[in-house]
Symmetry: none
DNA sequence: ATCTAACCGAGACGGTACGTCGCGTCTTCTA
DNA sequence: TAGAAGACGCGACGTACCGTCTCGGTTAGAT
């Protein structure tokens, strides 16, 4: 963690940090992650290169912090509006698991289709595939928190007897969450509400015939 | 389509092509995709850089062809051995869908854990996330063919009445295939046979309680 | 001299040779000697590269032959016109050495100012400075023949008693020929008829005061 | 004028500049100007290529500066030794023009035959023939200053009545200076003291018979 | 009149160097 | 004294040509 004589973070320039985040997010959208360079971020942010190297170890690390900051800002804005933002701490529990999951999944589809998030999120995912350290941070700080919302909701359903008790919620949620993510990342198929619905249905009820209800 | 007077492929050096494939695969394993350079591939292959640039547009394209060639060679070797190789044209249909899927899924787990395939496959996936052209080729030539094996097997099961007739097989297979791939790529959890089994079971029978069999 | 199994010159394609000369001369004028390439000459001449490498060892050698050929053609054209061309076998001997030298020097000034000859001649001179082999050929085939015309004329003047008998004509001619060439090549001063005249006068009569004629 | 944001010369590395000069001069002697490469200079100097490209536009420009620096160093060394170095600010005026010119001409012959100066000077001359910008700089900074020494001495002789008053010194000096340079550059004849002497004699007194002194 | 050796156009090949871009480090100057 | 500015050594980029090497096709001169 510690660099060579770690910099004094109390003296850190807040103004520079923000400018770097803004520049990184803007540039990754404009030129793509592959052509994103520290030099360009520094130039755009009106910042010396050293100021970036002092606080981050790679362009991926900068972008990850920038994206996390973006999320926090969005969350703060959402909670200020007292409304229901994209980033929530809970999945609604209406008692109808299928409906609740479909709602969240449809919202996720919409989010994935939002250009603002596409470039940086995709870049971080790609970097994470190749770079285990960043990958771990990506999973821990971005991916897993989102998935844990599903874990929580599935546990509630189990308590209510709507999901089999011996089902592992952490694995179960992957049945619908992973296909959606994969389709988006790999562009291996269209991302629609109908698709999201089907994933939920198949996962909840299986694809094999059920005995007729008595 | 044609670049600046496309090269004459009939005069292409087979020897160079093989050497480039070998070098690319070896190097991506040794130094990783991020540090893989065209220059190093050329040097290792004993080839001029231009010979690479003449036939491929990027290191990703080289690696994709190298990996595809690796697959073809493995397939050829497998068919010569008349045995059961990793790359097959069909998923066995024993009549027991669950067993057949588990068998393939466990084999896939083993393959994902094989270091030989890990580095290049992961690299291609990552590159595909950022580079739509290469991503499309990756999906079309590597991913989709594998998934279509599942589509075929699910269709057979539908014909046999073991899978609900209104289920879309292309979507259904994602319930087990995507989570496995995502866990591997994102390193978001352990890849075990038990995990593979659970994915198949959840997907086939759902996670909600079924009425007691009549 | 002999290459590796020297090519059979009787089978040589005259058409290709001409095309190569034309291309070389045209290109040296268009892009300059530094950017003149064998590949470009071959392409412009519609000729395979090997056809050039078969008969010449460098771009300088090609250009030298091309320029010599240009001279021969000009000479042939001049003699056909039965008139007085730039390339002559003799300097006129009118009995007046000063007048005859000035005439030739003025013609040389005009030739040096002719764009057609400038680029290739300058290129050959420059190449000759660095490449002793080509330099020797340049001197022997281009420079010395021109200078020998002066030697001949000065000898005639010596025989007539117009030049001191112990003067070395080969050295004497350099007094006017070298300054002219140097000014042109180095662009170290303007090239005019007046300048040429002065060189001849200074060389013939010296720059120091002469005793009054008796 | 300014290139793309001209570099800040106050922060220039003196150490690198010297190393580049040394490397350039050494290499031009070892491999010749044609095979002199920026890459080799950088490698030999232990310097990045960019550091060369930042301050010079071509290998010729580097070599010119290196050679000028060499001259300055020699001049500085000479003046420290309080002795008579090769590079002087004046041609001695002993009252005997012929003797003084011969002295300088013989020294020049020796210098031309000094291997240390041969390669770079010849290279710069050749480059100057092809490249007008560099040629101009070559003439202005190297050639002309040397020739002006002759101009000065001839003027003194004119004042003393030893040279005709209507003679143009700038032209007169070429009668002996240019032939020497040309013989050296073109290797069109041997460079000896005797040859130098004859040039001076011919130029001073002409090659035509003088009336007998009264 | 046919054969056959070569020259020919074409251009792929292993290389070298080009001039540029960006890396991560280091230094200098400024607020 | 942190930060902007940017020069530095370095490494790779993608391109241009080098000179060598096949590869058909044409085109003699000898059979």
């Amino acid at each position: 963690m510690a660099q060579k004589t770690a910099p004094d973070s109390t003296r850190r320039s807040e103004r520079s940090r923000r400018a770097i985040y803004d520049a990184a997010l803007a540039l990754v959208g404009e030129v793509g992650y592959a052509k994103l360079t520290i030099e360009a971020i520094a130039a755009r942010a009106g910042v010396g290169k050293q100021t970036i190297y002092r606080w981050w170890s790679s362009k991926g690390a900068v972008l990850l912090d920038a994206f996390l900051d973006l999320g926090e800002q969005a969350a703060r804005a959402a909670s200020e509006n007292a409304g229901r933002g994209e980033i929530q701490t809970e999945i609604t529990n209406s008692g109808d698991l299928e409906a609740d999951l479909k709602f969240v999944m449809r919202a996720t589809v919409d989010e994935f289709n939002d250009a603002k998030y596409d470039a940086p999120y995709r870049a971080l995912a790609a970097e994470g595939l190749l770079n285990p350290e960043l990958g771990e941070e990506f999973v821990e700080k971005l991916l897993e928190p989102q998935l844990q919302l599903f874990v929580k909701r599935v546990r509630q359903a189990q308590d209510a007897g709507h999901v089999l008790p011996d089902v592992d919620p952490r694995i179960a949620l992957e049945l619908w969450a992973s296909p959606l993510a994969q389709r988006w990342l790999m562009r291996s198929g269209p991302l629609t509400h109908a698709y999201a619905d089907k994933l939920v249905e198949y996962a909840l009820y299986g694809i094999t015939p059920r005995p007729a209800a008595s």
